[in-house]
């Protein structure tokens, strides 16, 4: 252990929900997108699921809102070391979209892409089973543009760069393809509980 002389750190408040190497950001919600925040109105937003599916489909704002509402209440974790507790997002479970397109048995991974062209790759298993959402509300208010509004992907059990802002679609694949940060040295899966921050972790 490489102890830093004179460093004591914050009081060790016991936080069972805090993954290793993370700190509680409290009320802060840092914005870290690498691109210009797009000027995207709900009326111009669409979400498409295609690739290895039986029935590729695009939803517009109203069609997506006609699906059963589903909310996430819990924590989120950013690779830059902040975690945020007790957030509430509302939208639709990704399971509802996937049920409509019927993924092929061969589909194992997905690339999520944004209206800005941002991409991130995920195992399909991380997007199913009630663990991923398309969300448009935060704390009962419309999701702010800088946080990915009008709608973003939410995969809260992985580092938050996987939760693509300004979500435009998912392409289902039978193999893994690195997305934007993954091509820039970040980990392929990004599980905060295993501290999968960078490739090789």
């Amino acid at each position: 252990m490489n102890v830093t002389r004179g460093f004591t750190g914050r009081p060790r408040a016991h936080r069972p929900g805090l993954p290793p190497g993370q700190y509680d950001a409290g009320d802060d919600w840092p914005v870290l997108s690498a691109e210009v925040t797009p000027d995207l109105a709900p009326a111009d937003w669409t979400f498409r699921v295609d690739g290895l599916v039986a029935a590729p489909r695009t939803w517009d704002w109203d069609e997506a809102h006609a699906l059963p509402e589903s909310a996430y209440e819990g924590d989120i974790h950013c690779v830059t070391s902040w975690s945020k507790f007790g957030v509430r997002f509302a939208g639709v479970s990704l399971d509802a979209f996937l049920a409509a397109v019927r993924p092929d048995a061969a589909a194992t991974h997905a690339v999520a892409y944004a209206h800005t062209g941002y991409t991130t790759n995920l195992p399909l298993a991380d997007l199913t089973g009630g663990r991923a959402w398309i969300v448009w509300e935060y704390d009962d208010k419309p999701l702010a543009a800088e946080h990915g509004g009008p709608a973003r992907l939410l995969v809260p059990h992985l580092y938050f760069w996987k939760s693509a802002k300004w979500i435009a679609g998912l392409r289902l694949l039978d193999h893994d393809e690195p997305g934007f940060w993954e091509q820039n040295g970040y980990h392929g899966r990004g599980n905060p509980w295993e501290e999968q921050r960078y490739a090789g972790d």
């Binding site: 252990m1 102890v3 460093f7 870290l32 997108s33 690498a34 800005t116 941002y118 934007f180 820039n184």
Partner: protein, 251 residues
């Protein structure tokens, strides 16, 4: 060879360089060799990292402090120094109110202290010195941009480079003594005699974008989220292509 999916949407800014995953995975000991005050709130910390793999201007590293009970705190910091600094890297850190890591640096750290670093990380905000660079930073957001200015100068590069740096006043302008003709400071609260006070505005960008060099500017924006939103909107309105704007926001 890994395939790369290209989305059917207008593409975001592509990465600039291939990143060494091996360097990023390894924690190394960095020994503090020098502390230089830059402003009342910011100091530069120079480290010896003998096995440093080298970096490009604009890249960052992750730094970790460890308490004697094993508790650790880690943060990402942009690298301030130019690449050709043989086994050394420099970071310039603001003293953040209540900052767990920056607080240690500003109140306890002394030459000889050891910390852990891993990196360099991320190729997205890197500038290899190839394309004309339009750099826009505020506060300590100038740190990764200064690495680019220093690289440009140290290598005697011909490629155009301009820096717009916003600070509250002259006493808070980091690296004030180092700037040359490539830099225009913008003061938001107080300015030297004869220099206007005001926020970064369209007119600051207009002349730079008008003299667009061959191949166009690659814009690098760094600062708080509020500044990054403001500056990137100004750039888009002034005609800078969205896919030629790279943003690094504090968080």
């Amino acid at each position: 060879m890994t395939e790369t999916f290209t989305p059917p949407t207008r593409f975001a800014v592509p990465g600039r360089i291939a990143v060494s995953n091996r360097a990023a995975a390894l924690w190394q000991t960095a020994t503090l060799t020098e502390i230089r005050r830059e402003t009342p709130r910011a100091s530069t910390f120079r480290f010896a990292v003998p096995a440093w793999a080298g970096h490009l201007p604009g890249q960052h590293l992750m730094l970790r402090l460890t308490a004697d009970d094993g508790y650790t705190a880690q943060r990402h910091y942009s690298i301030a120094s130019a690449p050709d600094d043989d086994g050394h890297v420099e970071l310039t850190l603001d003293h953040v109110d209540g900052g767990e890591v920056s607080g240690w640096f500003h109140t306890r750290a002394e030459p000889g202290d050891e910390v852990q670093v891993r990196g360099p990380l991320s190729g997205f905000f890197a500038w290899p010195g190839d394309r004309p660079a339009l750099l826009i930073g505020a506060g300590s957001g100038v740190v990764p941009l200064m690495s680019m200015v220093r690289h440009h100068r140290a290598r005697g590069l011909d490629v155009p480079l301009r820096l717009l740096v916003s600070a509250r006043g002259p006493e808070e302008l980091i690296y004030a003594r180092e700037y040359g003709a490539e830099t225009l400071p913008v003061y938001t609260r107080s300015a030297p005699e004869g220099v206007p006070v005001g926020r970064l505005a369209a007119h600051h960008l207009a002349s730079l974008l008008a003299e667009e060099p061959e191949g166009g500017w690659e814009a690098y924006v760094c600062g708080s989220n509020a500044f990054a939103e403001h500056a990137s909107r100004l750039l888009v309105r002034a005609g800078q292509p969205v896919d030629r704007i790279r943003i690094e926001r504090f968080g």
